[in-house]
Assembly symmetry: C2
Homo-oligomer: 503 residues x 2
Amino acid sequence: MDDKAWNELSRRMAELRDLGSIVGLLTWDQETFMPPGGADGRARQLAALQSLIHERLVSQELGDGLAAAAIAPGLDGAKAAMVRNLTRERDRAVKVPARLVRELAERQSKSVEAWRAARADGGFATFAPHLARLLELRREQADVIGHDGERYDALLEGFEPGMRVARLEPIFAELRDALIRMVAALADAPPPPRWRVERHRFPVDRQWDFTLHLLRDMGFDFERGRQDRSTHPFTDGIWRGDVRLTTRLSEENPFQAIFGTIHEGGHGLYEQNLPEEHAHDPVGHAASMGLHESQSRLWENLVGRSLPFWQRQHPHLRRAFPEALEGVSVEEVYAAANRVERSLVRVEADEVTYNLHILVRFELELAMLRGDLAVADLPAAWDERMMRYLGVKPDNDVEGVLQDIHWAWAELGYFPTYTLGNLYSAILYEKLAADLGDVDEVVRSGELTRIRDWLVENVHRHGHRWDAEEIVRRATGAGLSTAPFLRHLRTKYRSLYGATLAP
Amino acid sequence: MDDKAWNELSRRMAELRDLGSIVGLLTWDQETFMPPGGADGRARQLAALQSLIHERLVSQELGDGLAAAAIAPGLDGAKAAMVRNLTRERDRAVKVPARLVRELAERQSKSVEAWRAARADGGFATFAPHLARLLELRREQADVIGHDGERYDALLEGFEPGMRVARLEPIFAELRDALIRMVAALADAPPPPRWRVERHRFPVDRQWDFTLHLLRDMGFDFERGRQDRSTHPFTDGIWRGDVRLTTRLSEENPFQAIFGTIHEGGHGLYEQNLPEEHAHDPVGHAASMGLHESQSRLWENLVGRSLPFWQRQHPHLRRAFPEALEGVSVEEVYAAANRVERSLVRVEADEVTYNLHILVRFELELAMLRGDLAVADLPAAWDERMMRYLGVKPDNDVEGVLQDIHWAWAELGYFPTYTLGNLYSAILYEKLAADLGDVDEVVRSGELTRIRDWLVENVHRHGHRWDAEEIVRRATGAGLSTAPFLRHLRTKYRSLYGATLAP
């Protein structure tokens, strides 16, 4: 491939990235500063821009350029990765007919409305026909994209390139069984004495300052990013020079803002340290949603919910909230940040139970997509699994099967990325700990940028040069497995709860 | 033209408006919340988007659609206006070759750099060659666009559709001569006793609350807009449902924020009340920069700097800044808001001298474009005119010819829109006052939404259905003239300064 042809292809790649990054800003603004009257116009802007991006993506010229590059001899590794990534994305876009895209979009908004209505009157029945239709459309989409007999793979690929159900299922089953045993052992054990946050009020401006202090400690670069407030916390990497985080402040519970900020900060560090030389090509973004989540979970759970972290932060927290911390030991703060409970709601779940919530969803959506579970039977299946895995049963569909918005959005294949994030985070952290020596001392002394630097070197700077598991393998020598995550939980909760856990 | 053809044309019009409105958000964010590291990416986003918009604008399909519509029988008035507006815009875009657009863009950024350097070392010579080159490019641009022997017209048309130098020159000359006499009479007269703001400090959060109160009084809709802080105040109408204002807060001088907010609020009301039915076509925007400026000036000067306005606001101001207002009468506040001074700096100039600053710039840029004034002779010509019109001479080029960024941006033909704004504002206000009865009483009683409603009815809701002067003519029965503006100044300053002014 001569320079001229490559430059033309490269120009098209850059245009797609630059236009795509505008979608990021439109979305961020929508969730932060846009006045209510902006909504209709924003929907039009997004539609106009996305239809343009689609037009560019499926254009014959781009297709020809990618095809020529794919067979060109001697393309270096980075260029080959660009071509591979964009070809995958383009193939998916080309295969799905405009009619299906439109119908999915229309059905999604109606479905979200129906989901809200169902939550308001507490009945799954209102939502069921919409979910059934969305499932049909997703099946159709999976078939036009293509798969080896497992439709779920075609959807999963959109979030987790390279990952397959055949690889996930046995690993997730192993994780499930181990977690069920762990919950059984912990949830009924006497909990360690903890700080009672519910007895206090926490001024939001103090919380705000505390979260900024945490982000600075983590090495988040405020010259290339910012934090704002929003209803649901999220991270929007417009590009590596402009990464926007949001957090949520509640007077009742400072942990929401604290762990929310650490979580989004982990996403934010990934975005800020993506490879500069690929900032405007298809290697310069995250390798997968699961790997992205591994960064936020690593910071939130492995760093942020650790004892050494609170040994470091305890004096700062005490300065921010002197009354609420009066006579409260660091161990009690640590215990409060790590309560294990049989609970009904995913987003409030602790580190031990969280993945069981995900596995319920993964198994059910997989069964529906395979045709092994009818939509009408979903609520019963949900309740049955919740009882089996977590020992609790929802009183109604709102705190049961209607809990998450994902299915109303037709987002099937997304849930497993949360658990992948947890598994990858533990695999990476074990290697990181081995490389840094005494990682607890690193955290205790507040040298969090050493952790950031390890992640930059081993994960962030590769962007999407390889798929997620390959990046993890190159960083640690090991691929996906449950062992490091389960080791982490056993060690941590054994010390918190005493010798309740089997080895 | 059949429905199908019109719908297709209409779709293209809407796409252009929707994409264009994204430029608005990108720009607003750049001046308000974007972190410094976002700059490079933002420049790329804007370039990608603007090049796409240009591509759509000059497309053959749009040209054919517009040409067919232009000769279609029986197109109604609104549709005819859409076709006229977009055809004008497209013709300009089509005629200017890509090479010239690119060279102008490149020269502009270099020129702004040179202008900053020239301001740093105080020498016009550093900037002169850049200005000379920009002038050549603008001449070339004017020639390809086409004109009747007056190149300036081709540039002016970009800001003030339908306006011509031949119409402006005699009106501006009359204004100039009248203002020179007025300044001579006022600037040396003993000023009325005034509130000495410079002796106090004004907490910025109090100022902020006061500006929001003013916007509410004016009828600015916060469901469809917001105000933020920025270095230079501006208004960004993303669309009528989402209008963003900014203001600047200085501890030393509350008038900056107060009049800044009222000014931008005037722009904002125009944007919020553009015709809803044309929100996504080429009639749904302001008719010209001059008419836009007439809205901000009307609110800032005719309403905001009036005695009845301060009779209303005095108690509120006193509540906001009790110490600074201690023993200060409403007349003294009014006098402080209306000091007339021979000054060097346009953006700090008062209502009487302001247009003389503009006329200096208009006359000089016109002379340069005509070839009657060499760039090398510009500083001397500037100083000579400042002395003749305002009786002051800059000590150096920084407070003289290097004062504004407009020429460095190659923005030639923009300055007259400021003065047009002042003239139109006075014409509109006379009619508005006649229609409302006792307008002073309306202002004094705080019923500012009656003023807004008159402007919505007579100006805003027409969008760009007609060109600016035609809108003013339809609203008032009279076209452009200096008389209402000069009447306003004479009445106001006679009462402030006593009988110093000739009738």
